[in-house]
Subunit: 222 residues, 3 copies
């Protein structure tokens, strides 16, 4: 279907120097270009509205579709054909390739690099300093973690690395710093405590590495 204009619902809030590509649809109550925390604190401390402030916004690629309630921070750059569910949250310093889906209620906590053709399903959690390569699938409610000693001392994030074509099952947990190899599959509910080599299956709590069933290998066209 041809279209010449963007559709931006009147309830959308666009902040800073945000740029929106062509043929985009942006729905109810979406917030684009939200300032990161320190910037926002400085702005609001002056008593001015963020609507009137000047700071870097976000960039949304062409042919994107952003559903109701989603918030995208400043200093986020999406590729083309970007899609979200409802109430997704993407924080600052995150770069997304083309054809990325960020599902309903997903949190991407900033400083994340995401490749092309990535799908992140509803309620999944991606902390800071994660690398997600092309063709990765992150199932619903999957949880990546990045803080090995979360006892409120020094914060030294070690985000997981998901290599090309990796697939993370529903409600799986990845401990800080693990690498999931190319084409590997983490089963639903698995607790991954060690690196998973390429083209393997990680299953159980804690996860054991097994051969990837033929059917999974043949399906994955990366």
């Amino acid at each position: 279907m041809e279209r010449s204009t963007n559709y931006i619902h009147r309830s959308v809030r666009v902040y800073g120097s945000t740029k929106i590509g062509k043929n985009c649809t942006i729905m109810e109550n979406v917030i684009l270009g939200y300032p990161q925390h320190e910037v926002l604190q400085n702005i609001t401390a002056t008593g001015e509205g963020i609507e009137d402030s000047d700071f870097p916004g976000c960039r949304i690629g062409d042919d994107s579709f952003i559903r109701a309630g989603t918030t995208i921070f400043s200093d986020v750059r999406t590729g083309n054909r970007f899609k979200t569910g409802h109430n997704a949250m993407i924080r600052e310093k995150t770069i997304l390739g083309d054809n990325v889906l960020v599902g309903t209620n997903v949190i991407i906590d900033g400083n994340v690099n995401i490749g092309n053709n990535v799908s992140i399903q509803g309620n999944a959690y991606v902390p800071t300093h994660v690398t997600i390569e092309d063709n990765v699938f992150i199932g619903p409610c999957a949880v990546l973690s990045n803080d090995r000693y979360p006892v409120r001392g020094e914060y030294i994030p070690e985000g997981p690395i998901l290599k090309k074509g990796a697939s993370i099952g529903a409600n799986a947990t990845l401990v800080p710093g693990v690498e999931i190899g190319e084409g590997s599959v983490v089963a639903a509910g698995a607790l991954v405590t060690k690196d998973v080599p390429a083209w393997k299956l990680a299953i159980g709590c804690p996860a054991k590495v097994k051969d990837l069933p033929d059917v999974m290998q043949s399906i994955n066209k990366i």
Copy 2:
């Protein structure tokens, strides 16, 4: 308390041919009758608002209470005395019986059949093609899954089946296609990889099936 009218907050958005029953309360920023994705794309591609478009809405039963921020898609039909928490999301082709609670941040991803007297607690995730019979309880953050080979190939959903009076514990995970038998209980945090017969307890990761403690059996009045 007698009441003759609905209370619909002025911030509520009602789309399509949505019909709301009697004695309903619908709170801040609720969206009713949201078009499913393909329909929405077609509408917005024309540059028109969805407010002015004609498409099937949803139906809300009598005496319902829908809390702030909830989104209910087109082609959803609730029973009477339907209740939600905040920011619940119910997608298309979902049918709910009477006395159903859908808690805060719950996602029901469409094509789901839900019986009477069902309670789905906060942050739970229900994918497509799930069957939930009468008197089922789904605990907070419980995760049902439906995609056996989630590697971005063909999508052949196999949703779990929760039989009458089944109870799913907090943060439990159900792999695709499992059936939880009548009156059975899945413990908190369990990872259910096989069918659970009626009136049993599934506990652990992976879950083992044990006899249901007498106290649980006697409490459950289905």
Copy 3:
């Protein structure tokens, strides 16, 4: 930075007798002082708006920062330097100390006592009747539960107790009534089914109690 006034975004809704401290920032679509369910039902049943009704609100401490979409119920009292992520939800009869962070999409389901210097990360779930002492850290997507027999009979909540300086890992699950001892750490993805003594590590599904590594003990300055 000096400031003499609050910044309250024009989209904020403030209900009941809510009191907001000094130097606070309250962002888009926040709802403060939301009436608890029974009160709300009574109000809306009269056909009046809750804007015009008189009931107890919430109290927000000085120097607080409440991000977009957060809902705080009536009869909640926060300390100073309270912070939230986006779309956090805090229900009635909850008391929070100073320097508390409640992250994005977190649900605190009411009747919860929270000490000072507590951090609750994104998507975590805290049911009713939980006690969280000073300096506790709750990781992303951690799930506390309180209902031992969730089969829709009598509701006798037994919330976990998190002692001073305890740390709960990402996507961990705590069954009803467990106590996590002072300074103890629950590993990511752990399923805690028994009390954890002070200064121990609980790891695995079900969790086993081990000695706390020296590095974790030395980091934790409670």
